[in-house]
């Protein structure tokens, strides 16, 4: 399990400030708009950045004391190049793979072959998508317990996306692995995710399983008159247009006894992650 305890990190004008636990054996989607602190949070989880306060604990292990054990469990795939750009994928595998006990060079080369990436071309000469494929193949070949992906799918072609989903499902099949997955493509989380972590301006807005997310947040469509009569504090955001009004509600705060007569005039549906992001950031602004 990854535990983030009272973590504080100053990021320019913003401060990343949160505590949370990411359970083992699930895929956790991390969303938030640009500059909300997603990559910084992943850098803190991978120990590439140190927090100002608080700590990151992975399986009871802490950075500074148990680095070797932690890094043997995690693998990062990031948009900004991780591997040595002047070396080929094969050379990177030979140079860095030997540090991992579970690394399998044959499986690394097989994956590259499957993804149609030439292992004998310098990383810097590959396209952005191919670079990510190499990183992903390398990460998978190290057999990590925690696979951390920082916006990986944006540059993937549809064919590779399918292979990517297959590989993730294969990795998750034993229930012992965890994937943390920052993305803007919310449909990816709808498709793959079990848990959702939504952050805004460095703060945690929602952390929980997708089912409870869909139960907790609902989108109401109907006349503004009825929307305005529902419990005020349950209303998170409202959008009025010529024909109808759409509003996002926190259903835990709705007073069912009082609001039921108005609710019958509205159409409620589970909010999509995309709508949630849209309404939340609109309201926050």
């Amino acid at each position: 399990m990854i535990e983030i305890k009272d973590l504080k990190k100053k990021l320019g004008a913003m401060e990343l400030n949160m505590s949370l636990e990411i359970p083992e054996g699930y895929i956790c989607g991390l969303i938030g708009r640009n500059g909300s602190g997603k990559t910084s949070l992943l850098n803190l989880i991978t120990g590439l950045t140190s927090p100002d306060e608080g700590k990151v604990v992975i399986d009871g292990l802490e950075y500074g004391k148990d680095d070797k054990a932690i890094y043997a469990r995690i693998a990062l795939v990031s948009e900004d190049g991780l591997l040595d750009g002047y070396c080929t994928a094969k050379e990177n595998g030979l140079i860095y793979g030997r540090y991992y006990t579970g690394f399998n060079m044959t499986s690394f080369l097989c994956l590259l072959n499957k993804y149609r990436v030439n292992p004998n071309i310098a990383i810097d000469k590959l396209s952005r998508g191919e670079k990510l494929k190499v990183q992903f193949a390398f990460a998978i070949s190290t057999r990590p317990k925690y696979l951390i992906l920082d916006e990986p799918t944006a540059n993937f072609d549809p064919e590779f996306k399918k292979a990517f989903h297959e590989e993730i499902n294969k990795l998750m099949s034993d229930g012992k692995h965890t994937v943390i997955f920052a993305t803007h493509i919310t449909s990816e989380i709808d498709r793959l995710g079990d848990y959702l972590l939504f952050i805004h301006e460095g703060k945690k807005v929602f952390m929980g399983d997708l089912e409870s997310f869909r139960d907790k947040y609902k989108l109401a469509v109907g006349e503004e008159f009825y929307i305005d009569r529902l419990t005020k504090k349950a209303l998170l955001s409202k959008e009025v247009n010529n024909y109808s009004t759409r509003a996002m509600f926190d259903m835990d705060l709705i007073n069912k006894d009082l609001d039921e007569r108005y609710m019958n005039h509205l159409e409620f549906s589970p909010v999509t992650i995309e709508d949630f992001m849209y309404f939340y950031t609109k309201e926050a602004e």
Binding site: L48, S50, K68, A69, Y71, L83, D84, I95, Y96, Y100
Partner: protein
């Protein structure tokens, strides 16, 4: 050993050499060769000039090229490898020492052959040997494109110029000239190289953690 050699050789990528303007270093050597050809004409292929250029200066150029392409800092992936801080430091230091060992092999073996073949005087031989040893330990801390310590550049330039002078002094008998050269060595090159040693050791500690952590500190 094989892995260390692989890491070392990965520094010599043609694209990297071109991008890091390292190709310029090789051109300087060619300019010196052509200059000497002009100066000496038919005598160019006489033992001392030819041996000096190929046995002393060419290895020095190779060492300088190598020191620019083997920075002590590493790529992001290095900081995600399963290692303790101590192991990471050990890897950084041993990769550095491996590069130094290669530099010494490249520099000293041809130099010894030149010294024996050309029967170089003892002062010049010792001077050139010391120059190669000093240069072998100089590895630019943060790569050619980033901030390069002025001291490092001064040591490299001083080693080079003095070595260039010494190549013409294989049979020099005037003791005053040797004394002057050794004064430069003792007053300038050795103290500067010693101060660079401190910087290299600092760099080992600096390279142990990823730069974003360093920035935060």
């Amino acid at each position: 050993m094989k892995d260390r050699l692989r890491v070392y050789l990965s520094g010599f990528k043609l694209r990297k050499i071109i991008k890091d303007r390292g190709i310029g270093i090789c051109f300087i050597w060619l300019i010196i060769v052509f200059d000497r050809m002009n100066d000496y004409g038919d005598e160019f292929f006489s033992n001392s000039v030819f041996l000096g250029l190929f046995g002393v200066l060419l290895p020095m150029f190779l060492i300088v090229a190598s020191m620019f392409f083997h920075k002590i800092n590493y790529d992001k992936v290095f900081y995600l490898l399963p290692m303790t801080l101590e192991e990471r430091r050990k890897t950084i230091v041993s990769n550095y020492l491996f590069a130094v060992m290669i530099h010494l092999i490249i520099g000293i073996i041809p130099l010894c052959i030149v010294i024996i073949m050309a029967r170089v005087n003892i002062f010049t031989a010792a001077f050139m040997l010391l120059n190669v040893i000093i240069l072998s330990f100089m590895i630019i801390p943060k790569g050619f494109n980033e901030y390069v310590s002025v001291r490092f550049v001064m040591v490299v330039v001083a080693c080079f110029i003095t070595q260039l002078i010494e190549v013409d002094m294989f049979y020099e008998t005037r003791i005053s000239v040797h004394v002057f050269m050794w004064l430069i060595m003792c007053i300038f090159i050795i103290p500067m190289a010693y101060s660079c040693k401190k910087k290299i050791i600092e760099e080992f500690d600096y390279a142990m953690t990823y730069k974003e952590i360093k920035k935060a500190k």
